[in-house]
């Protein structure tokens, strides 16, 4: 980007606010104490954060694609998600409990956390900003069809919309419906159709990738 780029819209310069929120200050004070007393090193903290943010929706997509091609695996995934994930080399033992729910032509699940932002990070990585927004959290429980419509999916009235408000110790992952016309695709290609949003339940996977 050039130094002398010109804005058509005038706006105030973007600056660091300079003052951290009370919670951020508390976290920094705790971090300073823990490192000072030798309980943790800054490298430990850095590596824990790296692990936390290193997960991506690709792990969730692997599970979904396998469930689409292997009906027996799907049964195991719905019955015991962590054991099924271990079959694909995903170690989820240190994470919160997980429930996988299946979308069908009769039921469509959508996940929200009204109290905070509980999310299956172990399979989807950090949640998107909109998932944590007050707007999404308040509206999804009261008007799920309206929210899903804004993501581009119109659900017919005969489909039961089932909202999962995950407020406690369980994390929910949606197993979306396999798109029609994908019978010829390999498991790997199917995996590339599975989007993060479809595993939250605000959209359905499309038969073709929309991005390259």
């Amino acid at each position: 980007m050039s130094q002398d780029h010109d804005h058509r819209d005038e706006h105030a310069p973007i600056r660091d606010g300079g003052h951290a929120s009370p919670l951020a200050r508390r976290a920094r004070a705790l971090e300073a104490l823990l490192t000072e007393k030798g309980v943790l090193s800054t490298a430990d903290i850095r590596s824990a954060i790296d692990t936390l943010v290193s997960r991506t929706p690709a792990d969730g997509a692997k599970l979904v694609a396998r469930a689409w091609v292997d009906p027996a695996f799907k049964v195991r995934l719905l019955a015991d998600p962590k054991a099924a994930a271990a079959e694909l080399g995903l170690d989820l033992t240190s994470y919160a409990r997980l429930v996988v729910v299946e979308n069908t032509d009769k039921v469509h699940h959508v996940v929200v956390c009204t109290l905070c932002s509980c999310y299956p990070r172990m399979l989807l990585g950090p949640p998107p900003a909109w998932y944590k927004s007050l707007d999404y959290r308040a509206r999804t429980v009261a008007d799920p069809r309206g929210v899903i419509r804004e993501f581009g999916l119109e659900l017919p009235p005969k489909v039961e919309v089932r909202v999962l408000d995950s407020t406690a110790d369980m994390r929910y992952l949606v197993l979306p419906r396999r798109p029609l016309g994908t019978e010829h695709l390999s498991e790997a290609d199917l995996g590339s159709l599975v989007t993060r949003d479809s595993m939250i339940g605000v959209s359905d996977p499309k038969p073709e990738r929309t991005h390259v």
Binding site: V99, V141, A142, D143, R145, G146, P157, T167, D169, M170
Partner: protein, 96 residues
């Protein structure tokens, strides 16, 4: 575990200060136990540095959307499920 899957339950209407995991919009509403998840440390104690003991049974409780929101615009078959700890639930007669 006091409740079994299919049992009708009503969410308590208690309102108190502090860390609780029962959203306000389901308090006083009736629904059914969909999944008995098992026992977990009580977050109402964990939030204040407690041990969370004794552990509390946790249930996935289902509700009809039209029971939660009088002006719900979707079909009457739409549902909502929330995880609720046992001490927030009272029994109701019958089964779902």
């Amino acid at each position: 575990m006091r409740f079994r899957e299919g049992d009708r339950v009503r969410v308590r209407t208690d309102d108190r200060a502090g860390h609780i995991r029962t959203p306000a919009y389901i308090r006083g509403k009736s629904g059914w136990v969909a999944i008995a998840h098992g026992e977990f440390r009580n977050p109402e104690s964990l939030a204040y540095g407690g041990e969370g003991l004794p552990k509390q049974p946790l249930y996935l409780v289902g509700f009809r959307q039209t029971d939660l929101w009088p002006r719900y615009s979707g079909p009457p078959t739409d549902t909502l499920y929330v995880d609720v700890y046992e001490h927030w639930l009272s029994p109701e007669g019958g089964s779902a």
